[in-house]
Amino acid sequence: MATLAETFTPAAQPAVPHQVYSPMQLAWRKLRRNRAAVFGLVLLGALIAYIIVGSFVFSEEYANHNDLSLRLQGPSAEHPFGTDPIGRDILARTIYGGQISLLIGLASVAISLVVGVLVGAFAGYYGGTVDSVLMRFTEAVLNIPSLFLLIIAAKYAGDKIRNFELFGREFSGSLIVIILIIGLTSWMYLARIVRSEFLSLKEREYITAAHALGVKNLRIIFYHVLPNTTAPIIVAATLGVATAILSEAYISFLGLGVRAPTATWGNMLEDATRYIENAPHIWFFPGLLILITVLAINFVGDGLRDALDPRTLTH
């Protein structure tokens, strides 16, 4: 569980009474007292352990091993989550699928962070025409239902990248496509948040001072203003991971997501409607893992929102 928690405590010192805390330390203390957030962190830690430790217990070869005589078997001691339509072990597949689902969540949020921060920062900082062009564009993309946009993008880019090998594992080229399109269709809210932060921050005295000292615009944007907008960005990015994982699940459920041979929790749900009656375990376990992951991230994200809220920071 510690893995994720540590990222919020760069200087993990024992808390001494009456010590002066940095804002980050204060936030961490607040987060620790938020039992829901801690619960979310524990849950998330357990999930990460599941997909990492699990991959040492089961080889990828085992996860891909099919045996038609074992097809569509319900949960048993040998296959705790049952088997899929060609007799593969679903438990092992959720482990490798989970790695990809989480990877998609994190990587696509990274992309939406870059785009969203750039668009928001430039729009908010420069204002005027830059602002109205960028924001009109943002608004236009926001007006298209996100799943519709994802479907179009997935169809558009779905076959453009070939399969590739990484660390001795073979991945479908569609993995990169899905990461890109989820990232490129989810930056709009972030851009708005960053823009409004920039709008208020750029009027501050220290920025005026920087201008007077002849500091270049780009330097002001990235060295002086941006670091002061990290709190809302962290919150939005955390919750964004949950949304991205759900997006992957939906687009894969619709058959336009990551393709074989790469398993994800989402594409394990594909064609599940065929098995509602006869083999509910096929969709139940991957679905449940998505639910738990999204739930944990939402708990943490909500806790972070509280913890990083400057209005309550001094409490």
């Binding site: 829901a36 009109r136 564009f137 608004e139 236009a140 993309v141 007006n143 298209i144 239902p145 799943l147 519709f148 479907i151 179009i152 993008a153 169809k155 558009y156 949950a242 759900l246 699940a249 939906y250 459920f253 619709l254 749900l269 599940a272 409607t273 509602i276 009656e277 509910p280 969709w283 139940f284 679905g287 449940l288 998505i290 639910l291 999204v294 739930l295 939402n298 708990f299 909500d302």
Partner: protein, 358 residues
């Protein structure tokens, strides 16, 4: 009295200008949307697959001819122009001899011609028109259920803050909010469709809008609505009620509510009259912004329950790269989103006198 009417008159004038400005702003917005979407859809797949037989192939000369006849050989900006303003004013080459000899027949979107589906050969407008009522039945019912339950749950849990009820509610709302639609929908089908049926109990239908043997009666539609509406509602109630709860908590903590209590007003009166009225304001925004997307339907839910709505229409035709249908659906949704945003803003200013349109 006179003073008031004058203020109202000025208000109406300002409001009028506000609306006009917003509408004018919407035009470039819709233009940008249409260009983005058009470019993406143009490159997303092969619409001619719809002309193929069972093995998916359009052979030889037919392919070249259809590409020419459907204008797919034109540069993308020409195709966009034709989509927008039609081609009845320009000469096109229909026999493939390289000489443009006759006028086209399309009028373009600006003149109300959304084009003809490549797949069904039907006017797009007509296809959308047929699906629209189905989507509205599903979405409006869900929206009503969502608002009623979210208000009820949100308010009661706010009034009983920190109680066991509140905690259970908050936990459940998080679960609902994090629920992937396929898991919820398939779970509901399994429990209320499959399991109840196996147990010999009355069960809910899980497919389509009505039983084929009975026909499309309203009883049938209501019966078939239960599970898809439950799917859509459970997830949104969770999000909405959390929002309502936090708004209520904020309002309850404010001075005027405390004053009301001090005056000795009954708790019930305070809740319903004062707190609710103010807490409900943000809900208007939320619902208003949602309404625009109503037309989009709920793609995943419609797919799972085989509900013949707009979301499914879009999905089915996206798989066949049917550009005219996709453009038609998306433009209609965009227009409705813009429209409801405007309506929401206006409603909001009526409900909350503190808001001024700038």
């Amino acid at each position: 009295m006179t003073c008031l009417t004058q203020r109202q008159a000025i208000g109406a004038q300002v409001m009028g200008r506000f609306i006009i400005r917003r509408v004018l702003q919407a035009i470039p917005l819709l233009f940008v949307i249409s260009v983005i979407v058009f470019v993406l859809i143009m490159n997303m797949g092969d619409p001619l697959t719809s002309f193929a037989g069972r093995n998916g192939l359009v052979k030889g000369k037919d392919r070249e001819r259809l590409i020419r006849q459907l204008g797919l050989d034109q540069p993308i900006y020409v195709q966009y122009l034709v989509w927008l303003v039609g081609n009845d004013w320009m000469k096109i080459d229909s026999d493939g001899d390289g000489v443009a000899e006759s006028n086209g027949t399309r009028l373009g979107v600006l003149r109300g011609d959304l084009g003809t589906s490549v797949v069904t050969r039907q006017p797009v407008l007509q296809m959308i028109w047929e699906r629209l009522p189905n989507t509205l039945i599903l979405m409006l019912t869900s929206e009503a259920v969502i608002v009623v339950f979210a208000l009820g749950l949100g308010i009661t849990s706010a009034l009983k803050q920190y109680s066991l009820y509140d905690n259970v509610f908050t936990g459940l709302s998080f679960v609902g909010y994090s629920m992937p639609v396929p898991l919820l929908a398939l779970g509901l089908i399994y429990i209320f469709g499959v399991y109840l049926k196996r147990a010999g109990l009355p069960y809910f239908p899980t497919v389509g809008m009505f039983e084929p043997s009975v026909g499309k009666t309203w009883e049938q539609v209501v019966w078939h609505l239960v599970l898809p509406v439950a799917t859509l509602s459970i997830i949104s109630i969770a999000a909405y009620s959390r929002f309502i709860r936090s708004n209520m908590l904020e309002v309850i903590g404010q001075d005027y509510i405390r004053t009301a209590r001090a005056k000795g007003l009954a708790n019930r009166t305070i809740t319903l009259k004062h707190a609710l009225k103010n807490a409900a304001l943000p809900i208007v925004t939320l619902v208003g912004l949602d309404l625009g997307f109503l037309l989009a339907g709920a793609l995943v839910t419609e797919t799972i329950f085989s509900w013949p709505g707009m979301g499914r229409l879009f999905y089915d035709h996206a798989l066949k790269s049917d550009l005219p249908v996709l453009m038609g659906v998306l433009m209609l949704i965009s227009i409705s989103v813009v429209f409801f945003q405007l309506l929401t803003d206006i409603t909001y200013t009526f409900l909350d006198p503190r808001i001024r349109y700038q």
